[in-house]
Amino acid sequence: MNQPSLLSSLHPATEPDTLDSTDRAKIDASTRLPVLLFFGSAIFWLLLGSFLGLLSAWKMTNPWLLDSMGWLTFGRLRPAHLNAVAYGWAAPAAIGVGLWLTARLCRIPLLHSKLLVSAAIIWNLGILVGICGILIGDGRSIEWLEFPAYSTPILFVSYALIGIWTIIMFRFRKPGHIYVSQWYLFAAFLWFPWLYATANILLVWQPVQGPAQGAINWWYAHNVLGLWFTPIGLASAYYFIPKVIGRPIHSYYLSILGFWSLALFYSWNGLHHLIGGPFPAWLISASVVASLMMFIPVITTAINHHMTMQGHFEALKWSPTLRFTVFGAVAYTVVSLQGSSMAIPSLNTITHFTDYTIGHAHLGLYAFFTMMMFGAMYYIVPRLVGWEWPSASMIRWHFWLSAVGIILMVSALTLGGLLQGLALYDVKSTFRSSLEFATPFRYLRGVSGFVLMAGQIIFAILFIQMLLKLGTPKKGPALLGKPDDATV
């Protein structure tokens, strides 16, 4: 390859890196089995995990619900819910989207797809063992790492295969400009094994002593969100927004700033969960500062996405992918700014240990990440199975049930959490009264769970119809409105 001129180095897009439709077809066909395996199992765990979450939510208001069965008590259901949706749904969905995007962005068909098929099967085995382990009472009391010690090595083996595959793909990619989505994907695929191995070694196999456990626990739990789900969600947004509307991403320079500031600051964030805990002041303060520094990547990414969408908001009316993706991108901005504000000590003293935090977690994992994954799947699945989505109105229902459900859930938990926190903070009121403030909002949260599940069931039906190619063959994409230019 010739040395690039100075100008082309500054503007790498001058290099040709196009794919024609036969290349794309070849790439997509190569990803079919592993990606569909990850998607299918992810949707299964999403339904199961949401059901477990729904049960836990109703137990908060009706503690006698199913209280005679030990394996359905709150202490097991709640971690089972968290782990089923985080490791059963979100991670495989992220891996599936990540595989497809990686192949597209490396501009080569998937190499060694057997490796990935094995990884998918092993991963699901690990989740199954882990969820059963939690339900029979073997769970560990480490938040986000509740899976019993005998299931984590299975997950790690599966993940190691994927990590190796990522490096191989990156190494054999077609030469040319590396698009921003790929930075995030490559980083996330390497960050996760680092996080998971470190946390398991220091908390399970060779546990550190005393408060350091808490520090490592929250370092891990927060980084799973920020260095694993967030980058893959953003990679998806950076790919699908320009792809659907057909214009370049606004600014390469903003992309760089956003990526590196996320990489620099995020890993420090977790300790803001321990404000007021027995930790050296500098550790907490460094985390508070890093959490507020997250404004930089978040604002940068938000501007970049918004400016790309500028003038194309009409497309939200008809493209399912874009609608879910933009909802997720907006939620990313909201949840990140909220997260930064929750690290401010004076606010943290009120919101800590209340439902406010639960609302924040769902805003991140559902309104941002899950919606982003739905959007990506609406784009990817038709290309893998060679079938159009059978019903635009079902997609519309899925979107509105998800959107209304999650907004309802987050509003209820946020408001209830604030009232609960203020009551907890008031020395004159009892602990019981703080719960009474939260109770009506917890009923509302329980209701919102039904709404979300209804949306998920519709999506699962759509997905099964796609896999089995049910219904009459459709000409053209399933659009939500009348576009001037249909390219979804």
Partner: protein, 246 residues
């Protein structure tokens, strides 16, 4: 963006592919796609850079003011201020007796017991002890000295002789020592005056550099200070000190 863009169908080289592609059957969704995303090259707005620099400036100041000097044993210097922001109760100075009781429970009960009665023949009692509430020659300065540096050798307490070692507690801060002493002087029927952190500091400063524990003989040679408890009789109906006065 239409089907006319597709190159004529030709067989792929499938030797290294696990999945084959039927070109004729390329799904319409792939054909209608727009090209792969590209980067635009708009510059970063200047105001954004200014905002970020302001943030980083704030970060530096916040860290400098709240890092506790990056010491591993400085915990949350801000916490008291935060708590004070919300409620008057939290802002009130803590009761030294409450803190003293906690510190006593952590450090002293092993020998002197929660009852303050000690163990007969081994650890002297604190209840009604002339060493604690003041006796004919014992003053507050002696008590503080014992806590700071320890006590060794035979001692007479309430007429009984004990021969054991009281360890030094100079690693405790002035206000902690003051809190413990204030607690033991006001608990179990004892009713001597509180000890202030300033007083502990003055005693500590006067004996700076001392490492070995005190002995009864050595302490006796030091007169009780004016602020001492010599004027205060034991408040409990305990037996008067049988110790012959110096």
């Amino acid at each position: 963006m239409s089907a006319s863009n597709i190159p004529p169908q030709e067989p792929f080289n499938e030797s290294d592919q696990e999945n084959e592609v039927n070109v004729v059957g390329i799904h319409e969704s792939i054909l209608r796609e727009r090209e792969e995303p590209k980067d635009g090259y708009e510059p970063i707005p200047l105001w954004l850079i200014a905002v970020f620099f302001a943030l980083i400036f704030w970060a530096g100041i916040y860290l400098a003011m709240n890092s506790g000097g990056f010491q591993k044993d400085v915990f949350n210097p801000e916490m008291v201020a935060w708590a004070g922001g919300g409620s008057a109760v939290a802002a009130a100075p803590p009761d030294p007796k409450v803190i003293g009781k906690r510190l006593y429970t952590q450090n002293c009960v092993v020998c002197h017991q929660t009852t303050g009665l000690g163990v007969a023949g081994q650890f002297p009692p604190l209840v009604g002890s002339e060493w604690v509430v003041g006796g004919d020659w014992v003053g507050d300065n002696h008590l503080v000295k014992i806590l700071l540096h320890g006590l060794q050798g035979a001692v007479q307490v309430k007429g009984a002789t004990y021969n054991n070692a009281m360890p030094p507690w100079q690693q405790l801060k002035d206000d902690q020592i003051a809190a413990i002493l204030t607690y033991i002087r006001s608990e179990w029927g004892n009713a001597a005056s509180p000890i202030t952190p300033e007083y502990v500091k003055s005693v500590r400063d006067a004996a700076v550099g001392r490492t070995e524990p005190w002995s009864q003989k050595e302490l006796k040679a030091i007169p009780a200070e004016a602020a001492g408890a010599s004027a205060q009789p034991p408040a409990t109906p305990a037996a008067p000190p049988a110790n012959p006065a110096a």
